[in-house]
């Protein structure tokens, strides 16, 4: 940015009339202010009744009602952030440059544009630009549409392209408006007395600062408002230049983003000096945010002398160096007193006449700115089909293990109005592989989910390893639940992780602490155990492959390995082969049967394939409509029995 200003200072505007295209920025402003001043004197017109205007403005929130289908657009803008602050605080006393254009077919005001000349003062609390628009409406006797933008650039462009009739600018914005859009000044803000208001830029340092003059700012930091701001950028630069300092080389300039930010930077001790204009000064003092007595010397960049009654009440900072900015700057805050404006109308040619004339003469313009009882079903006799001896690796059956490892009795479960389980009994012993057959909605999966805690039964009890789950709490419940591991149809592995990492996660229930949070930190023993589990399902060689890279059957076997790593004595498999091809399905079922028979685990498998059930299970349980309909050894289950499970599948049983 500095470079951009450099460039501006350096060539484009060097020594030239800014409006003709050249002179250093400082020179541009100097000229601009002079020029503005001169024109103001010439065309800044205060009506004889500005007191009335002022009075009206104080009481005119209602004037803010601007009709649609405007005949004249009024667009107002301040310098950068100034505008928003001004509008928010309603403390605008800034010179207004307006220009009006009356459209054809509408009775224009008798006096024409030149009658717009108006001294406007907005009291604190009023919405400055709204009242301004109201005043213009009254003066022009035509509807005025007000748009508020943040920055002058858009106004100038809109004005340049006939999309805006009247705009309000700060000094620099006006220079550009004048240059590019041939904007003419027509009015300015004044105080209640009709006096043109003004403000000045100042360079402030803390009260205990050794800095006494602008020259001493060499190598010091100076907070400015923002590029292109008149009092927040150009005038301080001008002051520096006049003090023989090169703003780019000799002083550490920092753009704070706006006047308030620059002030904050100073009061927070972030810079050695800061630009504070009189408007910001006044605002800050009223807000109690700034005590000028703590920042005595104003190394001052002057704009225009202020009237004594306008001076800060606190000790006035001394002005170390006055900047020439000669002329009248559009002032904002400050001015209350003063002298009357020359009551001139018609500084402009063309005045009253035809709209076309006006258009030709005046063209400044616009700116855009502006969301379910449970009764026991048919009793199911518990039988142990095979009390296979504890074989292979797994866990030994607890001594004296006579009862079933998993025992479900009278399980009832309803989801809302839909009753899924109507008193289901199921028992699975160690070393036994039980399959559950049933149509969709018969409650198979729900029964399994109740066991592992993914669903809460409404009635009935579940006994795991001889312990009633419903009587357990906390750690004991967790321990009991850990005895049962679930294998899902959808596998539910973390696909992006390796098979081994997934298997390790089966042990999370007995791992604690930070080492359980990432596979990178899993203990070595766990990895060894998990590797053993993978070996038991025949996938040790795929341990470091990502799950996503494994086949469906392999993935399901990894899921079984995870259940093994959980050290569960019960494996519940919910349609584990539904998504697998026949070979893979055969393999998985073979694995589950082997785990029951060889590793002495209690295995319950929900299935949809009667053939698989016959081949791989020791017992088949049939579920229909939430009730157990049969519970026999595979050899005793004929096709008709199985068929009955699926003939009546049309709708789910409903509770009356």
């Amino acid at each position: 940015m500095h470079d951009a200003l450099d460039q501006l200072v350096g060539d484009r505007l060097d020594g030239q009339d800014p409006l003709d295209g050249g002179a250093p920025l400082t020179g541009v402003l100097e000229r601009a202010t002079h020029r503005e001043g001169r024109r103001l004197v010439e065309v800044g017109v205060a009506q004889d009744d500005e007191r009335v205007v002022a009075a009206e403005l104080q009481d005119t929130p209602a004037i803010a009602q601007t009709p649609r289908d405007p005949l004249t657009h009024l667009h107002a803008a301040g310098e950068g952030d100034d505008l928003h602050r001004l509008v928010a605080q309603g403390r605008v006393e800034e010179r207004l440059r307006v220009r009006a254009e009356h459209h054809q077919g509408v009775g224009g005001p008798a006096g024409g544009v030149d009658d717009v000349g108006q001294a406007v003062r907005c009291q604190r609390g009023a919405l400055a630009y709204t009242t301004l628009a109201g005043a213009l409406e009254r003066e022009l006797d035509c509807p005025v549409e007000l748009t508020i933008v943040e920055d002058y650039s858009a106004e100038v462009l809109a004005m340049e392209n006939d999309e805006l009739d009247i705009a309000q600018f700060g000094p620099l914005g006006f220079v550009f408006a004048s240059q590019r859009a041939d904007a003419q000044p027509v009015a300015s803000f004044a105080d209640a007395g009709g006096e043109l208001t003004t403000y000045k830029a100042g360079i402030w340092v803390p009260g205990d600062s050794p800095l006494q003059s602008i020259q001493q700012l060499r190598d010091r930091s100076l907070a400015l408002a923002e590029p292109g701001s008149t009092s927040g950028d150009a005038l301080p630069r001008l002051a520096l230049a006049k003090a023989g300092l090169d703003p780019e080389q000799d002083v550490k300039l920092e753009y704070a983003g706006g006047h308030p930010e620059a002030l904050l930077a100073l009061t927070n001790g972030k810079v050695d000096a800061a630009e504070i204009n009189t408007q910001q000064l006044k605002t800050s003092m009223e807000e109690g945010e700034f005590d000028p007595s703590q920042f005595p010397p104003d190394l001052g960049v002057r704009r225009r002398p202020q009237r004594p009654d306008h001076r800060p009440r606190q000790p006035r900072p001394r002005v170390q160096a006055a900047c020439p900015a000669g002329a009248d700057q559009p002032g904002s805050p400050g001015g209350r007193g003063g002298r009357r404006l020359p009551g001139r109308r018609g500084a402009r040619p063309a005045g009253s006449g035809h709209p076309r004339d006006l258009r030709a003469a005046v063209r400044p313009r616009a700116d855009p700115r502006a969301h379910r009882g449970g009764r026991l079903a048919m009793g199911v006799t518990v039988r142990t089909t095979s009390a296979a001896p504890a074989a292979g690796g797994g866990k030994q059956a607890p001594a004296g293990d006579a009862g079933p490892q998993l025992s479900i009795r009278g399980l009832t479960k309803a989801f809302g109005q839909r009753t899924v389980l109507r008193g289901v009994d199921l028992e699975v012993r160690r070393g036994e592989c039980v399959t559950v057959l049933g149509a969709n909605g018969s409650g198979k999966s729900t029964a399994l989910r109740c066991v592992v805690g993914l669903a809460e039964p409404d009635e009935g009890y579940i006994r795991i390893g001889g312990r009633m789950v419903s009587g357990l709490r906390g750690a004991q419940l967790a321990a009991a639940r850990r005895e049962a591991a679930m294998v899902f149809q959808q596998i539910h592995l973390v696909r992006r992780r390796t098979a081994l990492d997934n298997v390790c996660c089966g042990a999370l229930g007995r791992l604690r602490g930070a080492r359980s949070l990432t596979p990178l930190a899993f203990p070595g023993e766990l990895r060894d155990e998990a590797m053993g589990c993978l070996d038991r399902v025949g996938l040790a060689d795929r341990a470091s492959d990502r799950v996503a890279d494994l086949s469906g059957g392999q993935q399901q076997r990894v899921a079984v390995a995870r259940a093994l790593c959980q050290r569960a004595s019960i494996i519940l498999a919910d349609e584990p082969v539904a998504a697998l091809d026949p070979t893979a399905a055969e393999q998985v079922m073979e694995l589950l049967r082997r785990l029951a028979h060889e590793e002495h685990l209690a295995v319950a498998v929900v299935l949809h394939q009667p053939a698989l059930a016959r081949r791989h299970s020791d017992r088949i349980v049939g579920l229909l409509g939430g009730r157990v309909t049969f519970n026999r050894a595979p050899a005793e289950v004929d096709d008709a029995t199985v068929g009955a499970l699926y003939t009546y599948t049309h709708e789910e049983p409903r509770v009356a």
Binding site: L5, E163, V271, L454
Partner: protein, 276 residues
């Protein structure tokens, strides 16, 4: 074993279709009417006017004519532009990266399927909403008062705002993630923190990376805006060239930003490809 075969239920006499259809049609029509009304109101509110756009083409042409050709003076425009864009990029990188731990924590707490308690969920959601509601430029102003001027407050501003936005996006991706692996690990007795670390996070990582990279791209552009409040960077130069009506320089800066945005986009595409 006896087989209990429930008697077939009688079907309803008349298919309820007609009633159903009309019952659904009314709210649907009302919703559509409301939607249209809202858009009509919005059309009016924004003074949308195609004729105005078409009729004002000359102004746009004039603007473009001023911007073309771009000012390509190396030492005064291009080089400073590149240097400033690096500051902008650095601001975005710092702001985005430093926001990750906070966004992660809040995202987990603000996802209904991962949060420990309803109260915590509400608190986390509120925090994220607040951080989103405060424009980054306001954060920048706040931090200017704390740490002074320069890119640092810009980093902090992007950090805070980005925690709000990225935290919400991440929380929603958690809520949309497959509950299966979480259920699977829950049945193994895993605690919530273990579930989050071993099931939730691995599942959402690809989305999170994608969302994070998207946020990075957005933050590059945000740091352009922050240049306007003293955070430096190329936004600062852009603002200056607008205020001085140097549209040829403006165009050069925009070209530099374009290159930067394309580079970031390519990079994030490459990273996303590798991660998913």
């Amino acid at each position: 074993m006896a087989i209990t075969a429930p008697a077939p239920r009688p079907r309803p006499a008349a298919p309820p279709r007609v009633t159903l259809r009309s019952r659904r049609a009314l709210p649907g029509a009302l919703a559509l009417a409301a939607l249209v009304a809202v858009h009509v109101a919005a059309w009016i509110a924004t003074e949308f006017s195609l004729p105005a756009l078409a009729g004002g083409y000359e102004g746009m042409v004039g603007f473009m004519a001023e911007a073309i050709p771009p000012e390509l003076n190396w030492s005064e425009v291009v080089l400073p532009g590149i240097q400033a864009s690096l500051v902008t990029l650095a601001t975005a990188i710092m702001g985005t990266t430093l926001s990750i731990p906070f966004a992660l924590g809040l995202a987990v707490l603000a996802a209904h399927n991962a949060t420990p308690k309803v109260a915590v969920y509400q608190a986390a959601r509120s925090t994220l909403s607040f951080l989103r509601a405060v424009p980054d430029i306001v954060f920048a102003l706040i931090f200017v008062t704390a740490v002074g001027l320069g890119p640092f407050p810009g980093v902090l501003a992007i950090l805070f705002h980005n925690v709000g936005v990225m935290g919400k996006l991440w929380a929603e991706s958690i809520e949309e993630s497959d509950p299966g692996p979480v259920d699977a690990l829950r049945t193994s007795g895993a605690r919530r923190s273990q579930l989050v670390a071993n099931a939730v996070l691995p599942a959402v990582t690809p989305q999170w990376v994608g969302l994070g990279l998207y946020r990075f791209e957005v933050n590059v552009r945000s740091s352009l805006v922050l240049g306007l409040v003293g955070a430096g960077g190329i936004g600062f130069l852009i603002n200056g060239s607008i205020k001085l009506f140097r549209f040829d320089e403006l165009f050069t800066y925009i070209l530099i930003v374009l290159l930067m945005v394309i580079a970031v986009d390519q990079l994030s595409a490459a990273i996303r490809k590798r991660i998913t």
